[in-house]
């Protein structure tokens, strides 16, 4: 049986840019899928197609069992969307924003009012409820935006980079809110550029690149594929590199890689901090002076490096323009593409 969110072969082009090149997804009911990828990978376009904001050129999709292309209005009744840019009216107060959204979800004015108060309380915005959203901090706006997406407690939620641009404290707060939501049984598709975020919130992760899903699995499975943890050492003296390589090979699970000009050595390991201490002791015993040493966990870059052979950073520069234009041009680009 297909999941609460199911997509097959979604294709979307903007002029020459093939934003989606056959995306397949399946999110079982009550679970969280993290869509992980750099800027321009097609994350936002996927969300826009699944939430009826964009019509894919090809492919099929169902959300909450409803065909997205055939019954967009029914889909809209069953989904909540919290976007990359907080979609609130800044000249309206928090309360007015939520009330308006409630009424547009076809609630009666009185019910919308009551629901707004409830959400403001829940999202820790009660004190600011009657101030215009213009005066809100970035974190407060995101919370208000999320609250707006939850007005009717939709069974399926989409969040497009919910924490991009937030400071760590606000990010943590928002994560808590999202976890609470998911524990209530909501199916969630979340896009993110941060492996850590997907790690924290998602049951399953799909890695997207160039408009395709290039890998999927749990966070542990993906990390295992990227080689897991590794130790990075910067030796003080270039002459010590061969000895250091010897030491690291003794501890590592694989080959030690060397960058001569930065004097940096990297080796995949298992064993965490305890192993790191042993490595330091051994290097010390051999009289190798080190400038820096650390245990690194896999990042989005590492996932990308191992899956695609190029890092997310490089891609970032090359494709940021595509996604930015996609986000800004919205439907206009689509029209000219026709």
């Amino acid at each position: 049986m297909p999941g609460a969110i199911h997509a097959e072969g979604l294709v979307k082009t903007f002029g020459d840019v093939r934003a989606l090149d056959g995306v397949d997804l399946d999110v079982p009911e009550g679970t969280v899928l993290g869509l992980l990828g750099p800027n321009g990978a097609g994350k936002t376009t996927t969300v826009r197609c699944l939430t009826t904001l964009l019509r894919p050129d090809r492919g099929t999709a169902t959300v909450a069992g409803i065909d997205v292309l055939k019954h967009p209005d029914a889909v809209r009744r069953s989904v909540g969307l919290s976007g990359q840019f907080a979609a609130v009216d800044e000249y309206l107060t928090g309360r007015e924003n939520l009330q308006m959204v409630g009424q547009l979800y076809q609630m009666r004015a009185k019910a919308a009012k009551a629901r707004a108060s409830e959400l403001l309380e829940q999202f820790n915005l009660a004190d600011a409820a009657d101030r215009t959203a213009k005066t809100y901090s970035g974190g407060m706006r995101r919370r208000l935006d999320l609250a707006a997406a939850l007005v009717v407690s939709p069974p399926v939620m989409f969040m497009d980079e919910p924490t991009t641009g937030l400071d760590p404290r606000n990010r943590q707060q928002l994560w808590d809110v999202i976890k609470q939501l998911v524990s209530g049984g909501t199916t969630l598709l979340l896009t993110t550029q941060y492996l850590e975020e997907a790690d924290h919130l998602a049951h399953d992760i799909a890695v997207v690149d160039h408009g395709r899903v290039i890998a999927r699995g749990t966070s542990d499975q993906l990390k295992a594929r990227t080689g897991g943890e590794r130790v990075e050492v910067v030796v003080h003296d270039r002459e010590h590199i061969p000895t250091a390589v010897e030491v690291l090979n003794g501890f590592g699970k694989g080959e030690t890689t060397v960058e001569q000009h930065t004097r940096q050595l990297t080796v995949p390991v298992t064993g965490g901090a305890k192993l790191l201490a042993e490595v330091i002791r051994e290097l010390d015993t051999r009289g190798i002076e080190i400038d820096d040493i650390g245990l690194r966990r896999p990042t989005l870059d590492d996932v990308f490096l191992s899956l695609t052979g190029h890092t997310a950073e490089v891609k970032d520069e090359a494709e940021t323009n595509g996604e930015a234009a996609d986000a800004k041009g919205r439907g206009r680009r689509k029209e000219s593409a026709k």
Partner: protein, 268 residues
């Protein structure tokens, strides 16, 4: 879902916004008041209306023209507001909601109609202060005067749909403001609003007389009992009330259809 109830929710939202940015409403008022004062005192003494150069005649002739020009300026506000909405994240929120598709536009034009009504109210008061006297040339009554203002509001509402289409077609609110205004100058000046169109060059005269804008001005002069009602045989001048209604309804029908279609297409 109902277009009417969704439109009212959006109209309310826009009215709240307008009340929180009062400078927009105030600037919208200053301009027509300035026109009333400037035209009355600068041009008043040198205008020939139906053979009379009496400044009082011109003053009473002028007001219907200024009223009509003012309501058409709502075009720029509607266009800028919609262009602004289309380029902010909020439009994604609206599009992801199970609401009537045209409500974002209809709600905006309804809010602009309320603003236009308020502007007209203030402007009418200013006109009375500088010496406008309904019934100056022909007898009139309260019902006829209200009917005149009704036609003005209908014309203003029709023009906000042109503004909506402009707002959906440009990239920035600034472009919508200037794009909403520049074409209004020839439309409102090649008309009977500020001068007696029967004295225009013979090639210009029919343009002025068939100008949809002129029909409303002529209708208002007739209903208000103002001087300078054009004696022209051109159909819109001979049947100004009907012409005004027909023109406005046709403009709404055409531009509302185009704007809603464009909005939907933009919505993917």
């Amino acid at each position: 879902m109902s277009t009417m109830s969704d439109s009212l929710v959006i109209a309310r939202r826009n009215l709240i916004r307008m009340s929180r940015i009062p400078e927009m409403v105030i600037f919208g008022l200053i301009q027509p008041i300035m026109f009333v004062v400037l035209f009355t005192y600068v041009f008043g003494g040198s205008m020939n209306i139906g053979g009379s150069t009496d400044p009082d005649v011109y003053k009473n002739f002028l007001m219907a023209g200024i009223f009509a020009q003012t309501v058409t300026f709502a075009t720029a506000g509607a266009g800028a507001g919609i262009a602004d909405d289309m380029h902010k994240g909020l439009i994604d929120r609206f599009r992801s909601l199970p609401m009537a598709r045209g409500a974002v536009l209809t709600g905006r034009t309804m809010a602009d109609l309320v603003q236009t009504a308020l502007t007209l109210l203030v402007l009418a008061a200013v006109a009375l202060v500088v010496g406008w006297r309904p019934g100056f040339a022909e007898p009139t009554n309260f019902g006829k005067i209200m009917a005149g203002f009704g036609l003005l509001l209908l014309l203003g509402y029709a023009f906000t749909w042109i503004g909506a289409l402009i707002g959906l077609s440009v990239r920035t609110p600034e472009a919508a403001t200037s794009g909403g205004l520049i074409w209004l100058f020839p439309v409102t000046f090649i008309s009977n609003a500020f001068v007696d169109s029967s004295q225009m060059a013979s090639w210009l005269q029919p343009i002025a007389e068939w100008n949809p804008f002129s029909a409303t001005v002529q209708a208002c002069r007739t209903l208000f009992g103002d001087p300078g009602v054009s004696p022209s045989d051109a159909w819109p001048m001979a049947h100004p009330v009907w012409a005004s209604i027909i023109y406005s309804v046709v403009i709404i029908a055409i531009f509302r259809t185009l704007a809603v279609r464009k909005y939907r297409r933009a919505a993917g």
